[in-house]
Amino acid sequence: VSIWGRTAIAGAFEHPTRFAPDKTAYQLHAESARGALEDAGLGVRDVDGFFTSGVGPIGILSLAGHLNLRPRYVDSQAIGGSSFVSHCLHAAAAIAAGLCEVALVTYGSTAASERFAIGTGGGFGGDPPDNFESPFGPTIVGSYALVAQRHMHEYGTTSEQLAEIAVTMRRHASLNPEAKYREPITVEDVLASRMISSPLHLLDCCMISDGAGALVLTSLERARDLRRPPVVILGGAEALRHAEVGTRDLIDVAAAQSGPLALERAGIRHADVDVCLVYDSYTITVLVTLEALGFCRRGEGGAFVGGGRIGLGGALPVNPDGGGLSSNHPGMRGIFLVIEAVRQLRGACGPRQVAGAGLALVHGTGGMLGQRHSGVTLVVGKA
C-alpha cells in the first residue's frame, strides 16, 4: 500500500508571536493547536494522533496532558529542527496505515524570552561522541562553520555568495508582515556584521525568537470535505549523517540521501518544483542543501544562489516567508517550512506569493551539520 498522495495537510497555523515573555511554551503549543484545528474546521476531540518535539525526553506525556489529548498514535521524534517535517512524513504513513485519522503536530518555544543561547551556548550532552568533541568547544554555529570553511576551500565559494542568501531572505521578509526583521540588508551589511565563527558572520546566522505553530493532517478523502483545500503529501524521506568512524566528507549532507529518494517517491523532477522551503539555520545550510537536493551540482551552490535565482520571481524561490534568517527561529524551525509550503500552495501569501505555486519541496535539517545531523525531505502539492 502506498502512502503517497493519500494523505493531506488540512490545517496549518503559524503563531504570529516573535517574543512572548507573557506566555509559556505550552500555552504557545495550545494556541497553535487551536489555530490549526480552526483552520481545518476540526475540533480537539477529532485528534487521535499526536506529534511533537522539543519538549524534553518524555515531555510529550506532559504536553498531551496539558492539551488533554488521548491519542492512539504518538511520535515525539527528536532529531533537531527537522523533527516536525519528519512528523508530517510519519503522520502520513500512520494515517495511510489506519493507525490514526487526524494527526496534530505542535511546536512552541520561548527561546528568546528565556534568553537561551542556542547557537553559541556551550553544553555537553554526555553521549559517547560528546566526550571526543565537547572538550574542544564546538558550538552549533561552529559546526556549520566547519562545513562552510571546507566548502570554500574545495570550491572557492565566497562570503559574498553566502551573504547573498541572507540578503534574499531579508528581501522576502520585507514582504511578510509577521517577520521579525524586515529592513532590507546588503551583502556589505552581512560582511560588516561581526564574525561569530569564521567564516560565518552574525547576519549569516538565524535569529533567536519565540514562536510556535501547528499542523493538522488527515486522509485526503476526509480533507476534501474540510474547510481548506488539501495539500497532499506526495513523497518524503529521511536521513542521518554523522562522523562515520572519522571518515565523513563534510559536504556530504543528509539531504543528498533524503532528497533524491523523496523526489523519486513523489514521481517528480527538480524542474517541477515551484517553491522550495529549506531550513536556513545559517546561510551555508541553504547552499549545501540545495546542492545536495540536486538543484545544482556539488560545488556549484555559490553561483546557484546568486543572480536572483532563489528570490521571489527567480527560477527557484526559496523561503518566501524570510526563513529563520529573517522571519522567526525559536530553535527548531522545521514546522514553519511546512506551514509556509501550505500557505504558498493555497495561494494566500499576498505580496510574497509564488505565482501559480502547485508543488513545493520542503527540506528540514536538524542537529549539527559538521558533526551529526538529520535531513528530512517532503514533497507536497495541490490536490
Binding site: G137, M195, S197, G246, T247, G370
Partner: protein, 140 residues
C-alpha cells in the same frame, strides 16, 4: 603560579574508551583497528561499526596530520571557552586517515589554513585527563 580552575567540559572515561584516555595520559595517541575486518576507527568504541566484531587492537598514531577544516570561534558563552576567545576549533585528518575534532594551538588563529601540516601536542588539563591538541608541524 596558582592553578586556574579548569572550567571546560571534561570527557567521561568509560569502559569503551578507557584505553584511549590512558594512552593520552602517557602522551601517546592510539587508534582502534578491527582485528576482523581491519577498519580503523575514531572515536574508540567496543564493537566495529562495519562488522560488529569486538576483536579490537590498538594502533599507535604517528601524531602527524593536516587541517581538514577549522573555524575561528569568536562567540561561545560557555565557561572556560568564553575566557579564551577567539580560539580555533578544527577537524584534523590524521596521517592514518581518520578525522578528529580538536583545537589548533601554538598558532595565531588568522594563520590557520586548511591543508596545513600539524602535529599532536598533549595537554594535561587535570590530573586525570589529557587532551590531544594540534600545533603547526615543526619545519612547516
Amino acid at each position: 603560579m596558582a592553578e586556574k580552575p579548569y572550567k571546560k567540559p571534561l570527557p567521561r572515561i568509560d569502559e569503551e574508551s578507557r584505553g584511549f584516555w590512558e594512552a593520552l595520559g602517557r602522551h601517546e595517541l592510539y587508534l582502534q583497528r578491527c582485528r576482523k575486518c581491519g577498519l580503523l576507527r575514531y572515536y574508540p568504541r567496543a564493537l566495529c561499526p562495519a562488522c560488529l566484531s569486538d576483536a579490537t587492537e590498538w594502533l599507535r598514531a604517528s601524531g602527524r596530520g593536516t587541517v581538514y577544516s577549522f573555524t575561528v570561534t569568536h562567540q561561545n558563552q560557555a565557561p572556560g571557552f568564553r575566557e579564551e576567545l577567539p580560539y580555533v576549533l578544527a577537524l584534523v585528518e590524521l596521517a592514518e586517515g581518520v578525522r578528529v575534532m580538536t583545537n589548533i594551538v601554538g598558532a595565531a588563529p588568522e594563520q590557520v589554513r586548511i591543508g596545513m601540516a600539524v602535529e599532536v601536542v598533549f595537554e594535561d588539563v587535570t590530573p586525570e585527563i589529557t587532551l590531544a591538541k594540534w600545533k603547526p608541524a615543526a619545519g612547516s
